[in-house]
């Protein structure tokens, strides 16, 4: 037997030797604590649940309800779109100059599904073009043993005139401070512009400080390493 196998055998023996029954009072208490607690349903649950019931043929009233709701939403959209377009104009943008952005973000809600975090964030920026609600979908990974976390994902910031969308990256340091940044591409009224989104904060707080910039043109391409001096 090699030293490695011997160590593995010792570890397995040692791990096997330990409790395998949960204390009853702990389980009872946990069950008691769930009484009256609302379960977290996924955002799409209200859409899928009626469809499941429809497939099971359990409730035909659901079908009628879904059809009525869909028609109502379509009618509301048909009325609202021309109204919104007629009364609200997108902020003017100088197509040739960049602009720095400050402000704060606040996490409204956060959920986790299969290791992927979904956040809804309120962005209260100094410039109305990058003010609104943002949805972030992030995957978070920790570095072994050093208390560092890195995150990567997508962000879409929307408001009445368009949206900013792109990849974001972040890091959480052992002291709890967090940094997040990314280049977002403008859509709708912001077509042809890009927004450098950068925030700093602390894991113990839901608020973050924005240090960003709106630039004319597309986000900068990643340089080819071979072209660097």
């Amino acid at each position: 037997m090699t030293r490695e196998q011997d160590l593995q055998r010792r570890l397995v023996d040692w791990l096997t030797d330990g409790p395998v029954i949960a204390p009853t009072q702990v389980v009872d208490e946990a069950i008691k604590r769930t009484v009256g607690r609302r379960q977290h349903h996924p955002l799409w649950g209200w859409l899928l649940a009626p469809l499941d019931r429809f497939r099971a043929g359990e409730d035909t009233r659901v079908v009628i309800l879904v059809v009525v709701l869909a028609l109502t939403m379509l009618a509301a959209l048909a009325i609202a779109v021309p109204l919104a377009g007629g009364t609200r104009r997108a902020p003017e943008m100088d197509p040739s100059s960049a602009l720095s952005v400050t402000g704060a973000t606040e996490v409204i809600s956060e959920s986790e599904l299969d290791g992927v975090f979904e956040r809804l964030v309120r962005v209260d920026a100094s410039d109305p073009r990058v003010r609104g609600e943002a949805r972030q979908v992030m995957s978070i990974e920790s570095a072994p043993g050093v208390g560092l976390l890195r995150s990567t994902g997508l962000m879409r910031l929307e408001n009445d005139w368009g949206a900013w969308e792109g990849a974001i990256h972040g890091a959480r340091y052992p002291d709890g401070s967090e940094l997040e940044y990314g280049w977002l591409q403008g859509h709708g009224a912001y077509e042809g512009f890009s927004y450098f989104h950068s925030t700093r904060g602390h894991t113990a707080e839901t608020g973050r400080t924005i240090e960003g910039a709106i630039w004319p043109g597309e986000p900068p391409p990643a340089p080819d390493p071979s072209s660097l001096p």
Partner: protein, 185 residues
């Protein structure tokens, strides 16, 4: 006839409390065993288990595939252990490594071996302990551990490698200390 596991999970995620209780009663032993082995402390393991069970109830509707219930609960339990370990680090600077003293003679060889392993294991980070528990105690493959923890298989492999290296170094250091003590007697 009683419900099978997938049916229980399905019922529980639709808010059926009896189904949830049945699931919890059936699976809490294994979750406690995992928590205890990661945290090496009965009180902390109880805290982690309780936190995990409540989280399982809360988040059950987000579990799409009832057949993935077991690995999903392992993940929630491991994360509860990380949170408990983090809280514990904040509130206490004393580690149990310092408080442990080797048992005198009686079952010497076995107990000494047990204590050495205990001290070596406690020096590992919660993340390293977790991969060792999932891999060597639950017998999950590297790929399965990666799936449970939602990290890359390479990351799991490297955590196992460094954890075993650290454990080996601790045991070697213990052995040297014991030899030195025996020589000085």
């Amino acid at each position: 006839m009683g419900m099978g596991m997938p049916e229980l999970v399905d019922a529980a995620r639709n808010g059926d409390r009896e189904a949830f209780e049945a699931l919890v009663r059936a699976g809490s032993g294994r979750l406690y065993a995992i928590a205890y082995r990661i945290l090496r402390n009965a009180d902390l393991a109880s805290d982690a288990l309780q936190e995990a069970l409540v989280r399982i109830w809360d988040d059950l509707p987000t579990l799409r595939d009832p057949d993935r219930y077991d690995p999903w609960t392992y993940r929630i339990t491991c994360r509860a252990c990380y949170r408990v370990a983090k809280r514990e680090r904040r509130t206490s600077v004393t580690t149990l490594v310092d408080g442990m003293t080797p048992e005198p003679s009686a079952f010497e060889s076995k107990i000494a071996d047990h204590d050495e392993m205990e001290r070596g294991f406690r020096r590992l980070s919660p993340e390293q302990r977790t991969v060792l528990v999932l891999h060597y105690y639950l017998g999950l493959t590297i790929g399965e551990v990666a799936e449970v923890l939602r990290i890359a298989p390479g990351t799991v492999g490297s955590r196992v490698h460094y954890a075993m290296r650290s454990l080996r170094a601790s045991l070697a250091s213990e052995a040297r200390s014991t030899e030195a003590m025996e020589r000085s007697r």
